[in-house]
């Protein structure tokens, strides 16, 4: 449900990073979305597709990378992707585990055209 808001934040953050550069120079934006972030990637895709052109990112391709859910066992150090129903260590069955990743909502990179002077903006 909140993918619309995450898409808006994404575009806001990208434009902030661009500074003086025109948004139409953006060719590619790399996003990293954790599988446990609560985001439905397809819904985010839909909203980015709607909002980005309205905000001037008319040439941008969004590359969405899905980051796995990972935990580390504090007893046997196993790094594991939990099952869908149990977040305990599959190696030693310990519940003493630490969340490592899977909540990411990140902009990893923005690729911008070099020939800015030739670009009609």
């Amino acid at each position: 449900m909140h993918e619309y808001y995450v898409a808006k934040h994404t575009i806001y953050q990208v434009k902030k990073e661009l500074g003086e550069l025109h948004p139409s120079l953006v060719k590619k934006v790399g996003l990293e979305i954790g599988k446990m972030s609560g985001i439905i990637p397809e819904a985010l895709e839909m909203y980015l597709g709607l909002i980005a052109p309205e905000e001037g990112l008319t040439n941008a391709t969004f590359i969405i990378t899905l980051a796995p859910v990972l935990f580390r066992c504090n007893d046997c150090s196993t790094l594991f992707e939990p099952s869908r129903e149990l977040f305990w260590c599959p190696n030693c069955n310990s519940s003493n585990v630490t969340f490592v990743s899977g909540n990411e909502l990140k902009i990893q990179y923005i690729d911008v055209e070099n020939n800015a002077e030739n670009k009609e903006v």
């Binding site: 449900m1 909140h2 619309y4 808001y5 995450v6 934040h9 994404t10 806001y12 953050q13 990073e17 060719k27 590619k28 790399g30 996003l31 990293e32 446990m36 972030s37 609560g38 985001i39 990637p41 895709e45 980015l48 597709g49 980005a52 052109p53 990112l57 008319t58 040439n59 941008a60 391709t61 969004f62 590359i63 969405i64 990378t65 899905l66 869908r84 129903e85 149990l86 977040f87 305990w88 519940s95 003493n96 585990v97 969340f99 909540n103 909502l105 990140k106 902009i107 990893q108 990179y109 923005i110 690729d111 911008v112 055209e113 070099n114 020939n115």
Partner: protein
Amino acid sequence: MTRIHFFEHLEGHGAPQDLTRINLGKNILEANEEVAHQVYHLYTDRGVFLTNVMGSPGSGKTTLIKALAQHLKIAVLEGDIASSVDSIEFAKMNVPVVQVNTDIYGSACHLEAPWIADKLRLLIEYKPEFVFIENVGNLVCPSDFNLGEHERLVVYSIPEGFDKPIKYPPMFTKATAVVLTKVDLAPVMDLDVEKFEESVRKINPHVQIFTFSAKDEKSIQPIVTYLEGKRQALLNNRSN
């Protein structure tokens, strides 16, 4: 034309020669995080313990906060898509309260720090010891937005069924405390409260779990004691 592609693994390629890559690794919600940090530091400096109360609509968030108001010096920020139904309840109890309706933000299903920061700065002037943010009733979206809170308290009621933690893991894995409410209904519904606790522990093994029933006045006491302890720890850390 805007296009979108999905990848299961991080791309290993750099930018082509005609492109310049700006490497960021930044949180998409950075604008929210910046305001949340300001709120967190303000509340920490003033020794006011801030709790973000989240849960499904009808899970008993308001009832729980009303019970806490009988024992703690609190103020409340009410988040709802529309109406002032809950804030009127707190006003009747002489609890300082502000209402935030997200219908002015496109009927958002969650609260964001920039939408409520001014109200939280206002509430602190009433000199509460605890401020509770009652988030919009929703078991998914609010969990992604840090509001500057010290505590993430998830309210989870017996009638919702014991499978909710595995169905909604982001909410439960980020919780620092879970309050199981309406436990008086468990026998009526032939449900086992222990099974609920177990289902939370499978997802978040170390989270603090409480049981609460509005019918049992004493059941609020362990939650009061827990929150008082948490605030005392905040005050102790602040003076160190």
